[in-house]
């Protein structure tokens, strides 16, 4: 983990045994953020059914502070790309990601969101959403079970816990150089234009004899 606490870990443990809690602004800030990750209410295909199940009573995403599915990207912290992204839907996904307020995170849920999954060879299916938006956590599965989504959420919480607020390795949303928006692809004559956002992903060039 990149996180370097300002206070010695052993001393912190020793003090906490005496009933004194020592913390830093960074820890409190990250604790607050990771305990209230609001996902966007946004399902693309069958994975969305598992996402709904994860939010419902049996799996109860509310235990992790993420039950508040927002219907507007302005209020959401997390985009769960739940399902097959078609080329017609890809511009909308990217625009919704752009419209979210920083800091924002993306979970690519299921084989389709990662790579196109079983529909990879289809003419209309995107070969992975990470060609257009930066993905924080990938979950395999077709579809992943609700437990897997909860696991991804916990992994994302770990990531947020480790994010630095200052210094050269600070989080992306605190770095003025890092982009908050990515180019929106348009449906061209044959394929999406551009085929990938060059800042994130360059498609491999095909070598023909």
């Amino acid at each position: 983990m990149e996180n370097r606490p300002q206070i010695d870990e052993k001393l912190k443990n020793e003090v906490s045994k005496q009933g004194i809690v020592v913390t830093s602004l960074q820890e409190i800030y990250n604790w607050g953020r990771r305990s209230s990750i609001w996902p966007m209410q946004f399902g693309l295909a069958c994975c969305a059914i598992e996402m709904i199940a994860a939010a419902a009573a049996r799996y109860d995403m509310a235990r992790f502070g993420s039950e508040v599915f927002r219907s507007s990207p302005r209020q959401a912290d997390l985009m769960i790309v739940a399902g097959t992204v078609t080329k017609k839907m890809a511009p909308l996904v990217v625009r919704l990601y752009n419209q979210m307020a920083d800091p924002k995170y993306v979970i690519a849920m299921g084989a389709c969101a990662i790579s196109g999954g079983p529909f990879k060879d289809g003419y209309n299916v995107l070969k992975g959403i990470d060609r257009y938006i930066p993905v924080d956590v990938y979950i395999s599965g077709c579809p992943p079970r609700p437990e897997a989504l909860l696991h991804a959420l916990i992994e994302l919480q770990h990531k947020i816990d480790g994010q630095q607020l200052t210094g050269p390795s600070r989080a992306e949303f605190l770095d003025p150089e890092q982009p908050s928006e990515f180019p929106i692809p348009a449906l061209g004559k044959h394929d999406l234009e551009p085929p990938a956002n060059t800042a994130l992903f360059r498609p491999p060039s095909i070598q023909r004899d």
């Binding site: 909308l92 919704l96 419209q99 307020a101 607020l165 949303f173 605190l174 982009p179 908050s180 928006e181």
Partner: protein
């Protein structure tokens, strides 16, 4: 009756209460503003500032007017919706009803059907631009 002399002013509590009520939401808002002002770089952009329309590019102005004609449909729908609520218990208790109740519900139905005929003949059910 003994008066509690510990309270300096009975309204002091209210003043403190109002002060806390104002400060409680203002402190987080101020902290968020300070955070945005000094720590987090603002990153506005073309699509971030655009109107939210489910990810589509928004078309036309956000404020549109609905026709008043739609209002008529709403009212007529509401009346017959309520009629359906009354008809369900009528149908359930149909075999055990006395004559008076049966006649009463028929009168109720006749009144509504009459209203429907009136609305229909006045052209309220046909959509005209």
């Amino acid at each position: 009756m003994p008066v509690d002399t510990n309270i300096a002013d009975p309204y002091l509590f209210l003043i403190v209460f109002i002060g806390v009520a104002v400060a409680f939401p203002l402190i987080p808002l101020a902290l968020a503003w300070l955070w945005r002002r000094f720590l987090q770089p603002p990153k506005p952009g073309e699509s971030k500032n655009a109107i939210y329309e489910c990810g589509l590019e928004s078309s036309g102005p956000a404020r549109v007017q609905f026709r008043a004609r739609y209002h008529l449909y709403c009212i007529i729908f509401l009346i017959f919706d309520v009629e359906a609520i009354f008809l369900v218990p009528f149908a359930v208790a149909f075999t055990g009803l006395p004559v008076g109740a049966f006649v009463a519900i028929l009168v109720f139905l006749v009144l509504l059907v009459e209203g429907l005929v009136w609305a229909w003949s006045n052209g309220c059910l046909s959509w005209r631009n």
